[in-house]
Subunit: 336 residues, 2 copies
């Protein structure tokens, strides 16, 4: 196969708003990086062209040919079968429905492709190269617009029976709680996802309790992003800080339940909300977790902030491409 | 080693009130069974003598010599290191504290001994021989005086970082809920363990809403056992039935969270409360779980009642002895 010459891997982060494609060398250092808007409303053909163009551009930027690449790893939101590379459904890219995305990209570029769920791929990146490196039993909690999660158990990604394990955002905290996007009520995401946080912040603005946020973002929850919340807190909006503390307590409660169930050695917190206010959220969540969880389990767990930021998915995906298509672990596609 | 001649295994269930010792043949059929009271108040020497006497009696009853036994497997409540056979602590047998139980029994009898947590061992029995046979990702929930739990993931017992994974009884449902034995409030066990159920049933008796239970058990919660609750329901005590339904809903809520987190293919329900009222509890709990859990995960999970009853720990323990000390899997003590 000549794969001994294939010393580069490509990692791709496919999001609903942007695609990030990188070429990585054998040390998983990033050699090139292409970012492009996804524009899912333009349909499937445009999407595939955008995606493959971004990868080709990343190759050109790194001065690498397709023949030197061991494989492409991609992470994508939604329900994905990592063994077949088929997307069962994706929340923001509507045409990805029972769609053989890995096969399409592989055919277009002549490079083997492996595909995984974005959150699971990102946690794999953190486990291989970031905050969870060296830990065996890892829970990843990613607070963005929603709240995603993933698990590493006994040193390997754990996906469950049908690939959808780790949905910590839909742990129910209170059946009388707010409506969640999943159709249920009182899920962690319905309390502490960015949309829920922004909604509560908008109420504080409307009540004239958050003058700094009022000036910058107003009461439109779409305008109240994580960075705006962090800036308002730094500028002195105590009402916003109180909201974030309360949300972090919710996250900590779910963390305690996860500690009691899984007895992990590491909990990694990431996502836009955490990145904007890392210590505020992590400290309060950790404190709550340690108050509630059984000491026999909680004394063995550490809490850390994700380290790789925007590169966690790209790096996890590239590592998985190496796992699946590289020489050493060929034929073990479930690892990664 | 001559282990090809060793075709019998011994399984022992060490409980706070009774010890059950069985000799099993190579098909894991039970050849003999000795049940004896534990009497932990009589101290450590008496305990070890009782335990080893029970095992010797089981050997005599089966007409087997120690030389024909591949090993002894034991299950015991508390925090246990299955690799060393040391009990860190056990709730009902106070002198088992940093106690090398496996080594003591092995020395006394001249037979190798492996020791595990009772709930984890019982679920392993159900996985190898009972309701969970053939399933890969199994959650076990055992409703007794408290609520215990254990996990099988990717076909193997999952114990977590320090051996205490699976504590589903201490998932917090409501921080404002009733006090739990663990020191927290609102844990599943504080709502739906047998003590909590009996307490609520006693209130119904005191309110004269449960005439049948009043006649048989009165208002002493120690007298209100699972069998008494089941008989009262069969006799027509609607108030007691309503209590059990509400408790099963609590269990179903936690089951839903476990389904979202672990994406299992099987949930096994067992323990005295479930055995006394299997369909009442399992049906309501399953219905609640299916209402709350994400359909993408819940459609892959089955719910079943534990099949092995009082023999689940004995059979799981004997199988683990075979795993650890038998010829085929020698040197892989973590499996089982």
């Amino acid at each position: 196969m000549g794969s001994h010459k294939r010393k580069y891997a490509i990692g791709v982060d496919i999001g609903g708003t942007k695609i990030l494609a990188c070429v990585l060398d054998k040390h998983f250092d990033i050699l090139s990086e292409v970012k492009i808007k996804t524009k899912p409303d333009k349909g499937e053909r445009f999407f595939i062209k955008t995606l493959t163009d971004a990868i080709r551009q990343a190759l050109r930027d790194a001065k690498i040919t397709a023949k030197e690449v061991v494989g492409i790893g991609m992470g994508c939101p939604g329900f994905i079968d990592p063994d077949t590379g088929v997307v069962a459904g994706s929340p923001n890219i509507h045409f990805l429905k029972h769609y053989p995305l890995a096969k399409r990209v592989s055919k277009a570029l002549g490079i083997p492709v492996t595909l995984g769920n974005d959150v699971q791929t990102g946690l794999y990146g953190e486990h291989q190269f970031g905050a969870a490196k060296g830990f065996d039993n890892v829970v990843g909690i990613f607070m963005g617009t929603g709240i995603g999660g993933a698990l590493i158990l006994n040193g390997k990604p754990y996906r469950g029976t049908s690939g959808s394990a780790g949905e910590v955002g839909h742990v129910q905290l209170d059946p009388m709680g707010p409506a969640c996007g999943c159709g249920q009520t009182g899920c962690l995401e319905a309390y502490a996802g960015r949309l829920a946080i922004s909604a509560e912040a908008a109420v504080a603005v409307a009540r004239q309790q958050a003058p700094h946020l009022a000036k910058k973002s107003g009461t439109d929850i779409r305008a109240i992003k994580s960075g705006a919340l962090a800036r308002a807190i730094r500028a002195g909006d105590r009402a916003i800080e109180d909201i974030l503390r309360a949300k972090a307590k919710r996250v900590g409660t779910v963390m305690a339940n996860l500690v009691n169930i899984l007895n992990p050695d590491m909990i990694v917190l990431g996502g836009g909300v955490v990145e904007a206010m890392p210590s505020l959220i992590a400290k309060r969540a950790e404190k709550t977790m340690r108050t509630i969880a059984l000491p026999s389990s909680s004394k063995h767990v550490k809490v850390a902030i994700a380290k790789l930021g925007d590169h966690s998915i790209v790096m996890g995906a590239a590592k998985r491409a190496e796992d699946v298509f590289g020489e050493k672990r060929r034929g073990d596609p479930k690892n990664g």
